[in-house]
């Protein structure tokens, strides 16, 4: 055997110079190691503080600058004539609501069906392939989806709110489908087996038992997707940004006003009065998005609490 520099061979547990009975305070290099550890821990705290500070500053700016703008008139009135004061974003609010609602109406059923296919019917390979496709869709820059919708629906015709809804639905689809998949995966297998054992068809067990028990997770996913879509600007800039002051919404025939594009246009024009309106619109959008995200989270927490019981 080789001679050991270490002292395991020694009769005692610790090397002789390390008396086990000495007080339990840092010994050896431990003090220095603690300094290193504290240093890096502080960096982590600092990083977190930075992110929270950014969040607070952004929100505070939006609230403080937008808060003074918001009024009933602002929320309901049409935009002012060029160069005039006053006016609001009523039509943009309605427009965003409409565009996002239609997008949800397209994406939600499709997303749920995809999730049902992958979780109930697909072979493992098909499942992972579709999952990959969804991830890739999700990873596409939204402006690419915008020019896709342009090429498909707008080129050679004219901008339309429907093209906007279509583009947003592509953004929402993977979000809803993945959330639904995860929610369906939470459904206990016992439930599936029990439903199958009843001798009813697959359709009845899927639609009658499995889907309902995954519904709150699916709703959460949909709500979070709505929050995401409501603020998407790039696709709408490309397919629903050239609109006039007319009040009638021609959903398939023309672009309609919407909040994100409104904010973008105002922010690009060097007009201080326009900035004011942009802050107001930003506040409206932020309130909507944060409220929906919080709602989604609460739903999620509730469904998780229910599942764990």
């Amino acid at each position: 055997m080789t001679t050991m520099t270490s002292d395991l061979a020694h009769g005692e547990g610790l090397p002789p110079e390390l008396d086990p009975a000495r007080p339990l305070v840092a010994s050896g290099n431990l003090r220095r190691r603690h300094v290193v550890s504290t240093f890096f821990s502080s960096l982590a705290v600092l990083a977190t503080a930075f992110a929270v500070a950014v969040m607070v500053i952004v929100l505070w700016t939006v609230v403080s600058r937008g808060g003074s703008v918001i009024s009933w008139d602002f929320l309901t009135k049409a935009p002012p004539l060029f160069g005039c004061a006053g006016g609001g974003i009523g039509r943009a609010i309605a427009g965003t609501g409409l565009i996002v609602a239609i997008a949800t109406a397209i994406a939600m059923p499709l997303g749920i069906l995809i999730a049902l296919y992958t979780s109930e019917f697909a072979s493992p390979r098909a499942r992972s392939f579709i999952r990959l496709v969804l991830d890739l869709l999700n990873g596409l820059p939204s402006i690419v989806i915008g020019i896709f919708a342009f090429g498909l629906l707008v080129a050679g015709h004219h901008q339309s709110a429907f093209a906007g809804s279509f583009a947003l639905s592509i953004i929402m689809l993977p979000l809803i489908a993945r959330a639904s998949q995860e929610s369906l995966a939470q459904v206990p297998n016992g439930l599936r087996e029990a439903a199958n054992a009843l001798g009813v068809g697959r359709r009845q067990s899927v639609l009658g038992v499995i889907l309902p028990s995954a519904m709150s997770g699916i709703l959460t996913g949909t709500i979070l997707a709505v929050a995401r879509a409501a603020g998407e600007t790039a696709p709408l800039l490309i397919v629903s940004s050239i609109y006039k002051g007319s009040y009638s919404f021609d959903f398939f025939g023309s672009a309609i006003p919407n909040i994100p594009v409104e904010i973008f246009r105002l922010s690009e024009s060097a007009d201080p009065a326009g900035y004011e309106r942009a802050w107001g619109a930003a506040l409206v959008l932020v309130i909507f998005i944060l409220a929906t995200s919080v709602l989604g989270r609460m739903l999620f927490a509730r469904s998780k609490a229910k599942a764990s019981r």
Binding site: M4, T5, E12, G13, P20, P23, L24, V25, A26, R33
Partner: protein, 306 residues
């Protein structure tokens, strides 16, 4: 017959230089008479004179609770130096909970409360100013489920010594630790391979090697063989027996034969009337298994307990 006398003030010099003043009270005297079976099987000379043992831990009225649920309470016991102390008892009686309190492994678990006192070589383990990294450096632990790091076999063992700055002779240290854990021959040709490729028994011995590589004072073993087959179990038991010379060992086990084979002293934990874990009997192993004082102990060791 064994007599445990905590009040006893030793006149004889203990084997080690006296620890600071507080440790004086933690010595107690054991008179061992009547241990023919063990002395025969393990070849230990029967002490004819009273033996003074130095205690490493002195636990006083320990109670541990998870939030509002008390897991163990009323535990008072001492743990001897360089001996093997076994902890047995039914599932859920707080053996793991107790063991983890001995190296402050509970720290950081939200809602956990430790009441009472644990003295380690006379120092209050939960006193102010105690450095828990230092505590764990001196009191190592091997868990029920083997938990090798996803690193090479070598790095698993070398990791902690490197942290401690024990860099010179690292190869020798790793070899020594692996030999100590009776694993060297099996892995010496593949030290650079991932530790996750080892079998369960090898992984557990690697975890022991990892723990002894930094030469702690005490080794806490929580059912180290519970997930292993009989052969791996036997090699772990053999290993524990050899480690006794160097370390103080506390081992939790579900397996009563294992406790009887290995341990010098055995503590039996059970559930009290409120279904809270507590120490029911603590004595020399022979006594616990052949002539326990408490009927609950007797029921348990004879298998009547469910």
């Amino acid at each position: 017959m064994t007599i445990l006398d905590p009040e006893f003030d030793p006149i004889m010099e203990p084997s080690r230089p006296a620890a600071p003043a507080r440790s004086a009270g933690e010595r107690y005297r054991i008179q061992t008479v009547d241990r023919p079976a063990r002395t025969a099987s393990h070849g230990q000379p029967t002490p004819t004179t009273p033996v003074v043992r130095e205690s490493v831990f002195k636990v006083e009225q320990l109670a541990i609770s998870y939030g509002s649920k008390t897991a163990v309470q009323g535990v008072t016991m001492g743990i001897d130096r360089n001996r093997i102390t076994a902890i047995i008892g039914p599932s859920g009686c707080g053996k793991t909970t107790f063991l983890r309190s001995l190296n402050r492994m509970h720290d950081g678990i939200p809602g956990l409360r430790v009441d009472g006192h644990i003295y380690y070589h006379g120092h209050d383990l939960y006193g102010s100013g105690v450095d828990r990294v230092e505590v764990r450096r001196r009191i190592g632990m091997v868990f029920q489920k083997p938990n090798p790091f996803p690193k090479s076999i070598y790095d698993n063992v070398a990791w902690a010594p490197r942290n401690l700055g024990l860099r010179s002779g690292l190869d020798d240290r790793v070899e020594k630790a692996l030999r100590g854990a009776a694993l060297w021959d099996e892995v010496k040709d593949r030290l650079k391979d991932s530790a996750l490729g080892l079998s369960g028994g090898q992984q557990q011995r690697l975890c022991i090697a990892r723990a002894i590589a930094i030469e702690p004072d005490v080794l806490l073993l929580d059912e180290p063989a519970s997930a292993l087959d009989p052969i791996a179990t036997a090699s772990i038991e053999e290993l524990v027996r050899t480690l006794k010379a160097k370390f103080t060992i506390v081992i939790v086990t579900h397996n009563m034969q294992q406790a009887a084979r290995l341990a010098d002293r055995t503590a039996f934990f059970g559930l009290d009337n409120e279904r809270i874990g507590t120490l029911i009997e603590y004595d020399e192993t022979d006594k616990i298994f052949t002539n326990p004082a408490d009927t609950r102990t007797e029921d348990y060791v004879t298998g009547r307990f469910v």
